[in-house]
C-alpha cells in the first residue's frame, strides 16, 4: 500500500489518537506536577524534581478525609444507582406496559437538566423542609443524578441480549428465578459493571451538585475548590494521578482477563470441533 493510501486508510485512526492525546494531556500535566517541589504555596511553576509528595501522599489529613468521603459516597452511589437502574432497565426492555413513555421521559429529563439546576432545586427542597445538609443529602443527590446513566448503560446491554439462552434454560426446567440468577445476571454483568464504573466515576467527579448540597461535608472536589484559593497541596496532584492510574490498571486487568477467557473459549471450541456434531442453538 502506498503512503497516501495508508494515510487515507488509517487517517481516522491517527486523528482519533491525536484527540485521545489531547484528552490525556492535562492528566500528564497533573502527573508531572506531582513530582514538583514548589517553594511557596502554589504549584504551577516547575522548581525541582522530588518524590517527597509521593512518599507523603497521605500526610495531609484534610485531603485524606475528603478523599475517603468521596470514595465512600461514590461507592454507595454506584451500588444504589446501578441497582435501581438495572431494575428500571429490565422493566423498560423486557415488558410492554402502560406508562412506558412517561417512564422513559422521567428517566431522560434529569439528564437534560443542567447540574446547576438540579443542585439548586434539591437545595430549595431541603431548605424548605428544613432538612439538614449532610452525607445523606449528598448521597440522595448523587444517586438521583446517576440512575439515568445506569439505566442507559444496562439497557444497551440488555437490548443486545440473546433471549434464546433464557428460553433454553426454561426449557431445561429452570424456574424463572434460577434462570435470572444463573443465566441473565451473569450475561448482564458487563453492562452492570459498566454502569457501576460510570456512576462511580461521575460521583467522584461531581462538583456542582455537591457544592449546593454537601452542607459541611467536604468531598474531594470541594476540598480542591477551597484549596485552590490558598494553594493546592502537591498531594492533591499525587492523589489525582494515583486515582487515574488505579483506574487504568484495573481496566487493563479486566481486558487481560477478557482476552484470556476468549482464548480459553477458542481453545475449547477447537477441541469441540474435533468432536462430532455441535448442537445448533
Amino acid at each position: 500500500m502506498g503512503l497516501w493510501a495508508r494515510i487515507r486508510e488509517n487517517g481516522v485512526l491517527y486523528i482519533g489518537i491525536l484527540v485521545l492525546v489531547y484528552m490525556l494531556a492535562p492528566i500528564a500535566v497533573i502527573a508531572v506536577f506531582s513530582f514538583n517541589d514548589p517553594t511557596g504555596k502554589f504549584n504551577f511553576e516547575w522548581v525541582g524534581f522530588t518524590t517527597d509528595y509521593w512518599k507523603g501522599a497521605f500526610d495531609n489529613e484534610e485531603i485524606n478525609q475528603s478523599l475517603l468521603l468521596s470514595i465512600r459516597l461514590a461507592f454507595f452511589t454506584a451500588v444504589g444507582s446501578t441497582f435501581l437502574g438495572t431494575l428500571i432497565a429490565l422493566a423498560l426492555v423486557r415488558y410492554q406496559f402502560l406508562g412506558r413513555k412517561a417512564a422513559n421521559l422521567l428517566i431522560v429529563i434529569p439528564i437534560a437538566t443542567p447540574e446547576v439546576v438540579i443542585g439548586a432545586a434539591l437545595l430549595s427542597m431541603f431548605l424548605l423542609y428544613g432538612i439538614n445538609l449532610g452525607f445523606t443529602t449528598l448521597l440522595i443527590a448523587h444517586i438521583m443524578f446517576s440512575i439515568s446513566f445506569a439505566v442507559i448503560v444496562v439497557r444497551s446491554r440488555l437490548i443486545g441480549f440473546d433471549r434464546r439462552l433464557e428460553e433454553a434454560s426454561a426449557d431445561l426446567g429452570a424456574s424463572p428465578i434460577t434462570t435470572f440468577f444463573k443465566i441473565t445476571l451473569p450475561l448482564l454483568l458487563p453492562g452492570i459493571a459498566g454502569a457501576l464504573m460510570l456512576t462511580f466515576a461521575l460521583s467522584v467527579d461531581d462538583f456542582v451538585i455537591s457544592n449546593f448540597n454537601a452542607g459541611s461535608n467536604v468531598t474531594f472536589p470541594l476540598y480542591i475548590f477551597g484549596a485552590n484559593q490558598r494553594g493546592i497541596p502537591v498531594q492533591v496532584n499525587v492523589i489525582a494521578t494515583m486515582m487515574f492510574t488505579v483506574a487504568v490498571v484495573a481496566m487493563l486487568v479486566v481486558i487481560f482477563q477478557q482476552r484470556r477467557a476468549e482464548r480459553m473459549v477458542e481453545r475449547r471450541a477447537d477441541d469441540d470441533n474435533k468432536a462430532t456434531v455441535s448442537i445448533p442453538i
Binding site: 511557596g40 504555596k41 431541603f126 439538614n132 452542607g215 459541611s216 467536604v218 477551597g226 484559593q229
Partner: protein, 385 residues
C-alpha cells in the same frame, strides 16, 4: 414500533398530570423551613462552666500555627477538632445557613467570620450572646481600637481572632508606581489588574479614593463607585474579580496589582519576593475575623476557655509569628520584640497609628433590605456580568 409511541401524546399528558399531582401531594406535606424570618432579639447567652470534652472550631485556612492547638489541648485537657472550612464568608454562610436556621451548629462551638458576616449572622439570630463574666481575660487584653466597633458595640457576640487590612498588593518589580487605588484604573496596566469580588472589600476602597467616607456613604455613592468599576471592566482594565486566589496571578506575573489583604502579601513572599503590600494613599479598609458561638453549640464552656487561652499574650505571640496578620491582643509586640525583632517592627503586623491614619472599619451598604439588595445586585451584575 415508534409509530405507536409517537401517536399517543394524550396518554403521555395524562400520565404527566398524574405524576405532577402526586408530587404536589408530597410537597403539600412540606414544612416551613425558610418561609419564616428570623431575628436576634431573643438570642440565648452561651453557657459558661467547667470546660472539658471536645471542642469543634471552624476557622479560615493558614490562620493558626502548628503548635497552639496541641499546647491548648495539653493545658486544658480539652480535645480540639480544628477545621479550616471557612474559605469565603459567603460560601461558608451558604453551607451553615440551613443548619443554623434550624438551631443546629453542625457540631461547631466556634466559628470565625469577618465583621459583616458576623453582623449578618447575628441579625438573623444564628449566634449566641457571649457572657462577659466568662471572658474577663479577653476584655483586659483586647486592644482599645477593637473594643467597641460599630457593628457590635461592647462586643456582645464577637471576639476578634485576627485583624487585617485591605489595600493594594503589588508586584513592585513590574509596577513600581502604583500607590493609590486610582492607579488601578490607569490604562497602562490594562488587563493586569484584579479586584476582590467581595463587595465590602473593593467598593469602599474605590469610594475612599474618590474622597467619599464609606461610613457616611449613601446608596447612590455605592452605586456610583460600582459604576466606575463597571466602566473599567468594560474597558478591559480588570482581568478578573477574584476570591482569595489572586496571589497566584501575581506570583505568575499575569497580574501586576491587585486589591488584596495585608497578611497574604507577607505569606506570598515565599512564592515571589517582589510581592508587597502597599498602603493606598487614601487609606485602607480594616476588618477583623471574629470568633462567635453559634446557636446549638455543643460545648460553649470549652469555647470560652479557648478564646481566653489565645488572648494570653504569650500564646498569641506564637500565633502571630506564623500568621502575619494584625493581632487584637495588646502586649504581644513587646514579647515578639525579644524573639523576632524584624516581625515586631513590621508595619503590617503592628501597624502604627500613622500607618492606619486613613483606614476605615469595614462597612456594609446602608439602608433597608431593598436598598441593600439594590447595591448587591448591582455588584453581581458587574462581577458576574
Amino acid at each position: 414500533m415508534s409509530e405507536r409511541n409517537k401517536k399517543n401524546p394524550g396518554k403521555l399528558f395524562l400520565l404527566s398530570l398524574a405524576g405532577l399531582a402526586a408530587s404536589l401531594a408530597i410537597a403539600a406535606c412540606g414544612g416551613g423551613g425558610i418561609s419564616e424570618g428570623t431575628d436576634s432579639s431573643e438570642a440565648p447567652t452561651a453557657a459558661a462552666g467547667n470546660a472539658s470534652g471536645t471542642l469543634n472550631i471552624s476557622n479560615w485556612p493558614l490562620y493558626i500555627d502548628e503548635e497552639t492547638i496541641s499546647d491548648f489541648e495539653k493545658e486544658s485537657g480539652i480535645k480540639v477538632n480544628y477545621t479550616e472550612d471557612v474559605n469565603s464568608n459567603t460560601d461558608f454562610f451558604g453551607k451553615v445557613q440551613p443548619l443554623l436556621a434550624n438551631g443546629d451548629s453542625g457540631g461547631r462551638s466556634i466559628l470565625t467570620v469577618t465583621d459583616w458576616m458576623s453582623q449578618k449572622m447575628w441579625d438573623l439570630g444564628y449566634l449566641q450572646k457571649l457572657d462577659p463574666n466568662a471572658l474577663e481575660p479577653i476584655f483586659d487584653n483586647l486592644i482599645p481600637s477593637l473594643q467597641d466597633p460599630a457593628f457590635d458595640p461592647g462586643r456582645t457576640y464577637s471576639i476578634p481572632w485576627q485583624s487585617g487590612m485591605t489595600g493594594l498588593v503589588v508586584r513592585t518589580d513590574l509596577a513600581p508606581d502604583i500607590k493609590s487605588i486610582n492607579d488601578l484604573f490607569d490604562p497602562a496596566y490594562k488587563g493586569k489588574i484584579t479586584m476582590l469580588d467581595e463587595l465590602r472589600d473593593t467598593v469602599p476602597l474605590v469610594m475612599k479614593a474618590d474622597g467619599i467616607d464609606p461610613v457616611n456613604a449613601s446608596t447612590q455613592d455605592w452605586l456610583d463607585a460600582i459604576d466606575k468599576i463597571k466602566q473599567a471592566k468594560n474597558d478591559g482594565q480588570i482581568r478578573r474579580f477574584t476570591g482569595n486566589d489572586y496571589v497566584q496571578d501575581l506570583a505568575k506575573g499575569d497580574v501586576v496589582a491587585a486589591v488584596g489583604w495585608s497578611g497574604d502579601a507577607v505569606q506570598a513572599q515565599a512564592d515571589n519576593e517582589n510581592i508587597e503590600y502597599i498602603q493606598p494613599e487614601q487609606g485602607c479598609m480594616i476588618w477583623s475575623d471574629n470568633m462567635s458561638i453559634p446557636l446549638g453549640a455543643p460545648n460553649s464552656p470549652a469555647a470560652y476557655e479557648f478564646m481566653n487561652y489565645v488572648y494570653e499574650p504569650a500564646n498569641q505571640a506564637q500565633i502571630v509569628e506564623y500568621v502575619n496578620y494584625i493581632t487584637p491582643v495588646s502586649g504581644v509586640k513587646e514579647i515578639l520584640a525579644k524573639q523576632d525583632p524584624a516581625l515586631a517592627e513590621s508595619e503590617l503586623i503592628f501597624p502604627s497609628e500613622e500607618f492606619l491614619a486613613d483606614c476605615t472599619n469595614q462597612v456594609s451598604p446602608p439602608g433597608d433590605e431593598a436598598a441593600k439588595r439594590e447595591v448587591e445586585n448591582a455588584w453581581v451584575a458587574v462581577t458576574k456580568g
